[in-house]
Subunit: 331 residues, 4 copies
């Protein structure tokens, strides 16, 4: 009964099927028929022209996206708990050739115009200080919180006003869209580029980077190759992404994970550190309580000394979810 993470869950059968259907040799790299369908698939999903590329990890997706917005001497404003700051082993420094991450605050690991301004307003416009070139937000955030369309619009306005690009890290974008009950376009807001996550949502090894400025995608294609991310059997990545995005699988899987999280959340009451808006739960639990849950077979990470983090996935067993909810209620 694992609730450690969605990042290692099994692959959805329809993703497997799509991969197997792609087995016959086709043109290498991204010249195959499936890869060539990505732009249209995401154009349909977002209702506007876009260009999309596959890539094997969320870290690569985020970094390739940011590399189209940020020059080496610039910076990205992000939350101090953002994945790009905390969990990507310095990949942004590598991909952006030493550009800086500027760390801002905000409840629930969400930025807002005020916290962004706190960071960028004091920066003198001179060469002695690194200048911001882009903002990166995470939808849903590291604490499973979702930006509402109005919040996205406000950040987008600030970005435009200051000449900054806007990147959305959507490792759990589907969970956000499912929670918000809005269109993909509304959940992405005025992003210039979106990391559209599949792996945590039933995929195996493919994320999409969706560029709302197709010219940026051309740049990213060079950078993807240069980063060793242009797989020769790229059709297998395209197949995964299309299996997700051409139909509703991305939403179905996210809804399942969200529903499981909501069911557990219902049992947590005051224990919840953050409202549950996606598929992550941060639950106040004493060490003894955590031990008790583990003794019952539940897997999860400690979150500091007095809490645990539970993540649901597209394929959680309903029985296990119900059991966890009961177990927490019963503590």
């Amino acid at each position: 009964m694992q609730f450690l993470s969605d990042n290692a869950a099994a692959v959805h059968p329809r993703v497997w099927a799509a991969m197997q259907a792609a087995d016959a040799a086709d043109a290498p790299y991204d010249g195959d028929g499936l890869s060539r369908r990505l732009d249209d698939a995401f154009g349909d999903l977002f209702g506007r022209e876009c260009a999309a590329i596959w890539v094997a990890t969320g870290t690569a997706a985020n970094c390739l996206a940011l590399a189209t917005l940020v020059q080496p001497h610039g910076a990205v404003v992000c939350h101090h708990e953002a994945h790009i700051e905390m969990d990507e082993g310095g990949a942004p420094g590598f991909y952006l050739h030493g550009a800086k991450l500027m760390l801002a605050g905000g409840d629930g690991a969400k930025l807002d115009p005020g916290t962004i301004r706190e960071v960028i307003d004091p920066i003198r416009d001179d060469v002695h200080q690194v200048q911001p070139h882009a903002i990166s937000i995470t939808q849903a955030s590291e604490y499973g919180r979702c930006y509402r369309p109005g919040e996205l619009a406000a950040i987008g306005s600030l970005a435009r006003e200051r000449g900054l690009g806007l990147h959305v890290d959507g490792a759990r974008f589907a969970n956000a869209a499912a929670f918000l009950g809005c269109s993909a376009a509304q959940a992405a807001g005025p992003a210039d580029v979106l990391s559209f996550g599949c792996i945590k949502n039933g995929g195996m090894s493919a994320e999409a980077v969706v560029f709302f400025d197709p010219a940026a995608a051309d740049l990213a294609r060079y950078r993807r190759k240069r980063a060793g991310h242009l797989q020769s059997k790229g059709r297998f990545l395209a197949a995964q992404v299309l299996a997700m995005a051409e139909g509703d699988l991305w939403l179905e899987n996210a809804r399942a994970a969200n529903a499981a999280a909501a069911e557990i959340a219902g049992a947590c009451g005051e224990r919840l550190m953050h409202p549950v808006e996606a598929n992550e739960l941060f639950v106040r639990l004493s060490p003894e309580e955590r031990s008790a849950l583990r003794a019952q077979g539940f897997g999860f990470y400690d979150w500091g000394a007095e809490a645990g983090r539970f993540v649901t996935a597209w394929n959680n067993d309903p029985g296990a979810v119900a059991a966890l909810a009961r177990a927490i209620s019963g503590l």
Copy 2:
């Protein structure tokens, strides 16, 4: 009847089976049971201690390998037709932070101590000139030629004498080992690190980087993460690599491809630009002859104005191979 490349061939059924067997969730990244078996699998294969990591492409494998041998202010000596120079979109410049490739010659895209010395001997030992830090050779070479153990030893001696690391790009290492009829260790020679190819040999999306100095692997693990190449469902890459390397599949597949190439070579006679030692054929063919072959349904790349390149794969249809041989004979 495709002979365009082995790089987009179908995936071997035993690789598929291994991936499917890995579906159940395990620890993420390279903490799973399969990934933890890599060191031993390659230790057994090479008969000495080594540490191995998976990575999604040959480009990433080569660059992560080289990054353990070369500092940003140094250089790699490689053949002027090497993949790292010609076909990797500048990835070495990215991964090595601006280190240089020093281009040497040699028949059949193979280096030898003489051609290496031609490049490095004129370099003054001062800060004005970039200094070589490593040598990279390709086994089998871009022209499908294999380094004999004695040739490897000679290059290794030179490397040691000059304090240079030695990397072997083994995108088609299995084809070389199959041709040489020697052990994996003999085919790798005194390499410090080997890119062990699987993708062109029936894999989907996993190569191995084999470090004969385990400490170098620790460094490469940081760099792999930093390059966005640490996949969270890494078990699927480990599964592919183990399916290849724990048994004889790597050799079986290579033997099949080599045999197909040999059969076609037998029909080429004087047309061959290079002896066929692996699974690539460079065949002198006039434009009219190439058109004639294509009219019969054979796919292959032009190689300059007066030749074609044919690459066989693990799964070439025997009938198609025989047909191609006949067609060339009949020109």
Copy 3:
């Protein structure tokens, strides 16, 4: 009556004289007789073997120093108000190929083992998080505070214990040594490498980087060339450094600047935001008071809304210093 900064003050006559004496052609780069004296000059000054190179700016000095201690995938722990973080235009990100600065706190812009541990202790030893490779401290600090030998020893112990290099940014090292009344070696503490400032102390365009591990200097020599900092008429930089360091000029000039600062400090009383230990004063002054001082001809920078920063230099006119002290007393 300028107290804006010591960084643009006139050049000391003995530095001018040394430069002029170096006019006759000598070997280029650092092959001249003066450059070859640097190692010994600093060996004498610090009482132990060291290797020293000249470089044109403090930013380059700091970055070349750090590049010998930090790999691209690592990090430097520094104060969040350190010059390398705030004022060097992202140069560490460039020179360290994307390595990170990890920002710690501490009174007076000084680190201590506790504040360093706050930053490094939570870092998991895995590839997902950037690992610290070095600590950089500033002697005297951005607020003109000096590390005592015991404080240096404590930081050095922590560095050794954790396998971290220790860099001292000594843009105002002379001011610190003058204040502490200790030897150069004591003021540098267990540093692996020291940026020894000359420019703010009466030099024109030369700082020294002093490596207490001579092998590190060899690496830095390559990196200096690669950064375009190996001047062909390097003898003029060596001349400046030797004029400073072979005799007592570095101390004389610093004592003069410190004495001027102390005289002004005596007039500031409760207005001082930081004890004055070098040649910088941070003085609480209302906007009206700042206007009044400026109306009397005193130049200085605002420091936030309610203070001013005054920096003395080796050549402050005693009358101007006394006048400033009187003017502040009279507010």
Copy 4:
């Protein structure tokens, strides 16, 4: 009687005088009155709007210039004997974040449209091959050869046609302009950016980078700071550049050096490996002949086994020049 290089010659008295006149404190970095005059000085010299910055070395000048034209995944086409390839310690790889130098041929170390096309025409327009972003030529070349205005125009046309930037390395630009007897603008041709050399021509430690697109200079200002090349007493560099460029000193000094070279060339006859168009002579001399010259007190570098390289400077003693001419004649 040194003819080793112009790169370590004494500083011209008018440069010294300009530096001394700049001693009084002014605004730091490039905010001083002298630095602010650079744009106009070069605007006047080149007869069109431009923006110019000072920098301490030719290597930094070249690299900062190229960084405005070339992205990290691109390449610079240059001669295989260009300074940026042979003598800058890999600085372009550092400043351009791993971009590549593509090496072309051409007599006298000069490129021409044909040799450039030989390199760029075979490059497929796909992500597997690094794409050229700029061309860099050297005026005068490494062999002291000058591009005529028509040659520059032809290269410029090719550059525009292919969307490539054009950089001119003018470490000895003054010598070229003096030889060509044309305006500065004609000698620079359709360059986007010019490294305007002063150091080899009587300066101490300042070159100018002249951007004919002022927006590029804004980018370069950030990169200069980031490279640790923004000196706080920048007025001393501006003073040097202005002493050269505001009057005719740049031409006077170059004419003197060229005249000395011409005088020696007159004695060399068939010994000359290259026509002497600037201030460098490559003279066929046997080892015995070189020994004989050295025995007479002449300093110069060997150039391979059968030649010597002689470089004249602004301040060669007429007697020494005549003596060298006589000595060569007398061999």
